[in-house]
């Protein structure tokens, strides 16, 4: 019997269909050839690699599981695998695709009018129009129900006032999906770049997700027509359903970062000779490597079963919470462990671990912090919300 693959110890890949494997292989090749060679430089220069956007679109990575309107119409497992391979490159690139697909195309497809869908979705699938998703505000992202951004009805228009914070792709976006309180609960609006009173500004000095754009959005009496409102989005449940989609992708994505780190740790430990033997021949290092492999394996099985449930229409949002929590935590721990195993070299961008480690500090916070996901699972177990 051949020894198990170090990065896929239980051969979870064999549970994938030929088509799913083909998707993974296609994205893996792109990441190996086009992303990994440049991404360290992008991170260092605090630059999102815009030049990859047309290629991502050509591969069909915007709207992977969207039916029609230029989407690939594939299953959720394929979308998960896309996220996984992209994040093996960098969490910033995966974030870009998550936002475009799950947080912007998804709500326009699900809650938008036919006109909104026709106008935006094919352009977004082709990467010619970019989106951002504005939910979080400066005063407490974990509690979006208390959002202060407000939209007031004025004749046939809406007038939006407020501010959004930590918005991925904010200054890149041609269209912002903006969530605002109204006298009639939370509603979603499509605000276009250049709308009067709408300003986006990048957040600087980030030490994480540096190859991704994060912005603040300001709305000062921004007037949009009723046709810019997402007609079927009613209440906070609508933006939360978008987050469920994106978190699902994150639960898969971080496995890519974790496996990149484990690969780097194995490579280094196998070749670094200290005290007359390779580092990998010591017990403490082997325990740490084994622990990474154990948790990565469990994470892979968790993500795949989550995907199968989603494709059967049986996925509960608390299952996504458990998977996001578990997998981001294992990835962050793997990145920190690898950073340490690499010694001094591990603090430089010559290796991948520190970049993944710093990125994952964002990933564990955004789309619901780890604590919030624990509390979501806790609420499901006890029937009581303890937020």
């Amino acid at each position: 019997m051949a020894s198990p693959h170090p990065l896929d110890f239980f051969d979870v890949r064999s549970l994938l269909s030929d088509e799913e494997q083909a998707v993974q292989d296609a994205v893996a090749r792109f990441v190996d050839e086009r992303v990994i060679p440049i991404i360290g430089e992008c991170f260092e220069a605090d630059r999102f690699p815009m030049e990859l956007v047309p290629q991502l679109a050509e591969l069909g990575l915007f709207g992977v599981s969207m039916e029609g309107y230029g989407g690939a119409g594939m299953n959720s497992v394929c979308y998960g695998l896309v996220c996984q391979e992209l994040e093996r490159g960098d969490s910033g690139l995966r974030s870009f695709v998550s936002v475009q697909s799950s947080l912007c195309m998804f709500p326009i497809r699900r809650y938008g009018s036919e006109e909104q869908r026709r106008r935006w979705l094919p352009e977004m699938a082709a990467g010619r129009a970019l989106g951002c998703f504005g939910l979080t505000e400066p005063d407490g992202g974990s509690d979006p129900g208390t959002m202060k951004t407000h939209a007031r009805r004025d004749g046939s228009d809406w007038v939006i006032n407020g501010a959004k914070m930590w918005i991925t792709n904010g200054t890149l976006a041609d269209v912002a999906v903006v969530w605002a309180n109204t006298d009639d609960g939370v509603k979603g609006f499509l605000v276009e770049r250049g709308a009067k009173g709408y300003v986006a500004r990048d957040i600087k000095r980030k030490m994480s997700l540096r190859a991704s754009v994060t912005s603040e959005l300001f709305f000062d009496d921004v007037r949009v027509p009723e046709a810019a409102r997402l007609p079927d989005a009613i209440g906070l449940a609508a933006p939360l359903s978008c987050l469920t989609q994106a978190r699902y992708g994150i639960a898969w994505g971080v496995l890519g970062a974790a496996s990149a780190c484990l690969a780097e740790a194995l490579e280094f430990a196998g070749t670094r000779v200290l005290f007359g033997r390779p580092l990998s021949h010591t017990q403490t290092i082997q325990r740490r490597l084994a622990d990474m492999a154990r948790r990565l394996t469990a994470g892979r099985l968790l993500a795949l079963q989550l995907g199968r449930l989603k494709d059967q229409g049986r996925m509960h949002h608390s299952q996504v919470s458990l998977a996001k929590w578990n997998n981001v935590r294992l990835a962050l721990d793997a990145a920190r462990e690898t950073r340490d195993i690499l010694g001094g070299g591990g603090i430089t961008l010559d290796h991948h671990a520190i970049r993944h480690m710093l990125n994952l500090e964002s990933v564990i916070t955004y789309e619901g912090t780890e604590t919030i996901h624990e509390l979501v699972v806790g609420r499901e177990l006890t029937g009581t919300a303890a937020f």
């Binding site: 051949a2 030929d18 083909a22 069909g60």
Partner: protein, 264 residues
Amino acid sequence: MKILVAIKQVPDKNARLVLDSAGQGIVETDVTWEINESDRYALESALRIKEAGDGSGEVVAVTVGPERARKAISSALAMGADRAIHLADPDFQNGDPLSVARVLAAVVRKEEPQLVLCGTRSDDAGYGETPILLGGLLGWPAVFLTMGIEVADGRVKVVRELEAARQELSSIALPAVLAVQSGIHEVRYTSLKGIMAAKKKTVDQLTPTELGLSREKIGRFGSRLQVLDLAPPVKKSKCEFIEGKPGDAAAALVDRLRRDAKVL
């Protein structure tokens, strides 16, 4: 123009191969497979010729291989081939280059393409003979190590890679067989839409009878070549330290490279 591309499924370059107990093949259970590298370049070349044409072109991928080779066909269709022919009948399998070329020649006679593209050699057996034998059986010109293809007016201009970085340009009458060298063009990325579209494309299975081939001429019965033994290469790595002053050591190293390694 109709182009036939012959592809072969071979073990992944990174696969860890284990010899079977008879020592004449590999254990296939844990092997992952892929399309032979130079065959991917052949397919890319075919797709480019088709795309540069008037839109009436067709690219047909053909493979001789067991059921598992279906995955290679799917990859070829996902990359952009219009349809495929899978020669999966057990009688076709385990042939030497000549018996494989006989099968391909029968397919060519049936399909009547103007151009057949193959890779130069397979990454597993590595004979590099099939395309040339195919040209011979068909009575068509066959070109090895093709590094450039340009189709115009019923002829094809072919750049061939020669020794010492030299290239040869020749003009060849169609129909022809070209064995394409890896690196001729950049191979495109397979898109998700391509993968979805592949599911709806036709894959024909043909039997030896349908191709008018008798069992004795093809597969293992038709093979003149018999593999007697397979063995992993013996590792003979030796590390030697050349001592002495830098100048003397360098001179000794140059001498060794010249005399023993014969690389200078």
